[in-house]
Amino acid sequence: MPVRTPHFPDLLFGSAARLRRWEGALMDLLAAHGYRELHPSLVLRGAVPEGGLRFFDGDDLVALRWDFTVALAGLLARGFPAPPDRVAYAGAVFRRPVQPWEAVERFEVGCERIQPEGEATNEADVELARLLMAIPGALGLKSAILHLGNAALVRRPLEAEGIFGELADAVVAALSRRAPHRVREALDGHPSGARLSAHAEALLSELDGPRTLDALASSPYAELLAGEREHMDRALQALLPILPPNLELRVDLADVAGLGFYTGPTLRLWAPGAQQELAAGGRYDRLFPGLGRPWQAAGFCVRLSRLLDLAETRPDLFEQPQ
């Protein structure tokens, strides 16, 4: 039986000062690249997902802001006839955590790159990756690892095989666990079982530098995914020459976290030895069309609460502030 106690940590002097400093440094960095801040209300009305913190305001059921991307999307779709191209945000979100050690109140800084549908997205994706590459330096992290993935590497073969719903969820859960044997179990008896299992083996075979992309050649879906491979290859060509010395770049073909949301390239930032990713993002082109706006978008979110925890438990990973 899972035990979920509400976890609302207070920030004392050192952590409060660090939060203020980091939030300022990251928002300055984003502003310098043309990202203008929007601050959606802390109180949201409308449908609230499981895990949101809800309460009654008189007769109205409302919720605390549980996700910046969703809050911003509502704000933008309601109030902007044309999309602003670059948006930044900073503040707290409130969600009941999946992991017992995570706090309910979480501090985040993030950004979104929004374009009209049909515009080329390669440059926007690379722009976001370059920005994320600058984050460890702005936070004083001595070293970091940037994982590049692509949600389409799993999504497109599943769609091509007509696999949706529970079976698709089971395959994605198995990939998330990096368990090829679970993929085989989930697809046992399905006509595409052998093909998709071979694809899973290819995705899970490497977690390394740019040459990891070569593993896609052994997938039965190599041809279907040629465009995605080319997109990732071009991104790597653009990013590798400007890679800071303290940042390692890895290609993670089996990144399926958030697959229900992401539609294309994904980004995740880790520190060596950290138990949780410190920033995450990617392309989510279905969000705005779902709200009636023909826009495509990508973005990332820096999880400042996790960074504050890391600074407490692993101060050796950070430069000492001047």
């Binding site: 666990r177 977690l207 890895r250 138990q275």
Partner: protein, 216 residues
Amino acid sequence: MTQPPVLIAFPKGRLGDELVPRLAGTPLALDTAALKSRVLRIPTATPGVAALLLKGADLPRYVAAGVASLGIVGSDTLDEMDVDLLELADLGFGACRLSLCALAGVTLEQLRARPHLRLATKFPKATEAWLAREGLTAELVPLSSSAELAPLLGLADAIVDLVQTGGTLRAHGLVETAVLGRSSARLVAARGAYLSEPGRIRPLADLLLGALKDKA
């Protein structure tokens, strides 16, 4: 700064009894003197790598929290728990069935026909999933051990439990009436450790897999 030792969580009990002899003579063999003591953190033959001996039900939490970077645990335990960790390989050993067991002479059809079926188990999630698949409802009696006693003493009509050889069932006059699933030992890894330090954790996972494969 010196790297802290990497911890591997090994299970106590049935699975541990199968695992420890398999590791003997490999780079991850457990220190025999420490094994005989009551110590639960045991050095291995590889410097910088130590083993934690944990109850199967606790083990996934140590790994998910990143306290131990790797672990070995039965898939039955993983399936019952909602923990976020990586499951790198099916190790094959420790194979057993998760079965519905009743007193000899009681058939599955008789159990299905009970208006108020009571099932004792320490696997409520798997049992609920099976009941849903079968279109049945039942009262679940949660137990943490010695489930075989429940049908004998009238606490439940049947049990859902792991069966390896069937010896314990026979000793209590029980028989398997349906197989709900299968379980075997799995190599698990902490998501954070594996994704943020693959250069450190993957070779150790390969070493463990190699050691167990050679002894298969």
